[in-house]
Amino acid sequence: MTAEPALLLHDVSVAYRKSSESVLAVDRVSLTLGAGRSLGIVGESGSGKSTLANLVLGLLPQGTSVTGSNLAVYGHTLLPWQQADFAAIRGRAAAMIFQDPLSALHPTLKVGRQMEETILCVRGRGRGSSHAERVGLLAAVGLPDPERILGSYPYELSGGMRQRVLIALALAVRPRLIVADEPTTALDPTTEAQIIALLHRTRIDLGASLLLISHNLGMVASMCDDIAVMYAGRVVEGGPTAEVLSRPQHPYLRALLACDPTLVAFGESGDFPSISGETPVFRDPCPGCAFSPRCSERLALCEQLLPPHVTSGTGHYVACHRNLDFVEADR
């Protein structure tokens, strides 16, 4: 592929400053999202995946430090980190869809007004949207009665409808990269399925790349070409989705798959399996593998030494001391 990747991270770390201490949210992460492809990032809350999403559009709070050897969106280099660089990206190269559509919209502005304002700002003076265009956008995302919705306030719409409005906005600015941060977490399962389908269709229509953040393995499985699994700020496994999910190598991913309610059959005991222990607090980065305290397969050196990434021929990579030889076993 000679086209530049949609998103390129190399050895990127993000640290928040909380009162007087530094909290490491993302720890030396390297990822590549090819142009036109989709990447799903999965992990528990606290894994740093949301920080990663916010990173792409520069939505991190002031005082956050971002370091790394490379960070680029469609060739726009974003390191050293400064807000001015993001003007070229926001609403142009990339657009974001947020988790909670209610708070994402201005509570006392009508939907039509917000859309008009936002599109005008992105496209520039004199090139705003017409009423007809906005109606068309809402219709394109499957909203019935777009006229009424344009004249409504966000609280008058359902969660699914609001999310469609946000997707419509993303559609309007025609970004090359869509970043979706848990877009369906706040929605019920039926609506969830619809929104996922809509998102998929939108991406294809635009020919855009997709960065999908989720804790829902099933959703990532159905939507994304590639997957990356994060734990405690680090990427522990990744690669082509089908390959990774059918042959999980990292103990964490294996445990996640075992626990996923959609994949697990209700055992006789009626219990859901779960992973014991809690996600580590960011303040104490472990010198070795962050998952080792909870890992059922841990070795003595796991806590001391950071496992390196090992990549197989298929592009499947994992960072685990137990699986240093999986490359060979794979063949």
């Binding site: 993001f86 003007a87 609403g91 974001m96 947020f98 708070s103 994402a104 304002e117 700002c121 306030y153």
Partner: protein, 314 residues
């Protein structure tokens, strides 16, 4: 919504009635002969007797009160014993100037206060923010007459850019004479407004919808001015609504210091010359205006508050 309006209206009317009652009580408490108070020291015996009958001083107190209120309602607020002019006419002449002063003062204070507040909110901690914080506290703490005197000294004496007294002739000169007094009255407000706008904006800027707008590339300043300000402006209106009393008293001082004809100077001169009829009329008129303005402001707030507005739609 209607219930709220009704209650506020009732309260306002109640306040006016209370003031009328207080003024009535005071008029009966006048140190000295009420006839002299109302008619002046040169009143003749006949005038006094006529006055006594007219005022019903020979009748019982509640009846007097009713007569008093009746008199007020018919527009008879007494007359200036020196010139004989009806108080109502005097009020009609001076009230507009006071209102213009108040409006001008609030206007520039809001304009400047909002601008400074926005700036401070967008760049918290930098020098504008700190200077604003400091000066606003100082301006709020200083009594209005001190501010007025210093403004007069600075503007009319040291710099000699503005006149120290009077109304001016012709529209341009009028404005020229308006500058120093309105700076005096507005200065305390600028401080309050800037701080409130800053605080409200900083809070609004942390809202999730700001994130969306930022993600789409809107500049922070644009978001602040076009989306957050409409919410941040509410506390300002509340502030003004609650501060109309302060506005009135500052205006009185400004009018006195800058020798500006207005309700303030009218009442003040009346008080000094023991011209009770004028003082009473002026206070009553000012109270009614003040209560009406406060009511209007409170209703505006209720109407503008998105929460009440949204509830109204349900």
């Amino acid at each position: 919504m209607l219930r709220v309006v009704g209650l506020r209206l009732a309260l306002s009317v109640g306040i006016v009635l209370l003031v009328v009652f207080v003024l009535f009580v005071l008029s009966r408490m006048l140190s000295g002969d009420p006839a002299t108070m109302a008619l002046g020291p040169r009143a003749t015996q006949e005038m006094r007797e006529a006055f006594a009958v007219e005022m019903g001083l020979d009748r019982s107190v509640p009846v007097q009160f009713v007569a008093y209120v009746r008199g007020l309602l018919s527009g008879d607020l007494g007359a200036d014993f020196l010139s004989g002019r009806p108080v109502l006419v005097m009020i009609g002449e001076t009230l507009p100037h006071t209102i213009i002063l108040a409006v001008a003062s609030i206007s520039w204070a809001v304009a400047l206060g909002v601008l400074v507040g926005v700036q401070a909110a967008l760049h918290p901690g930098d020098w504008i923010d700190r200077v604003t914080a400091l000066t606003s506290v100082a301006l709020i703490a200083l009594p209005p007459f001190v501010i007025g005197i210093y403004i007069l000294i600075l503007g009319a004496i040291v710099l000699d850019w503005f006149p120290a007294s009077g109304l001016g002739e012709g529209p341009v000169d009028y404005l020229h004479h308006l500058v120093l007094p309105s700076i005096t009255v507005g200065s305390a407000w600028v401080g309050y407004i800037a701080r409130i706008v800053r605080a409200a904006l900083v809070e609004e800027l942390g809202s999730p919808y700001v994130r969306t707008a930022t993600a789409f590339g809107l500049s922070r300043r644009r978001i602040a001015m076009r989306q957050c300000l409409r919410i941040a402006i509410l506390p300002v209106i509340t502030l003004i609504a609650g501060g109309i009393g302060f506005l009135l008293s500052s205006s009185v001082f400004a009018e006195v210091i800058f020798s500006r004809p207005g309700m303030g100077t009218m009442i003040y001169d009346a008080v000094l010359t023991r011209n009770y009829a004028v003082a009473q009329g002026g206070v009553l008129a000012a109270t009614i205006m003040f209560v009406a303005l406060t009511l209007a402001a409170d209703l505006t707030i209720s109407a503008l508050d998105p929460r009440t507005r949204l509830q109204g739609f349900r």
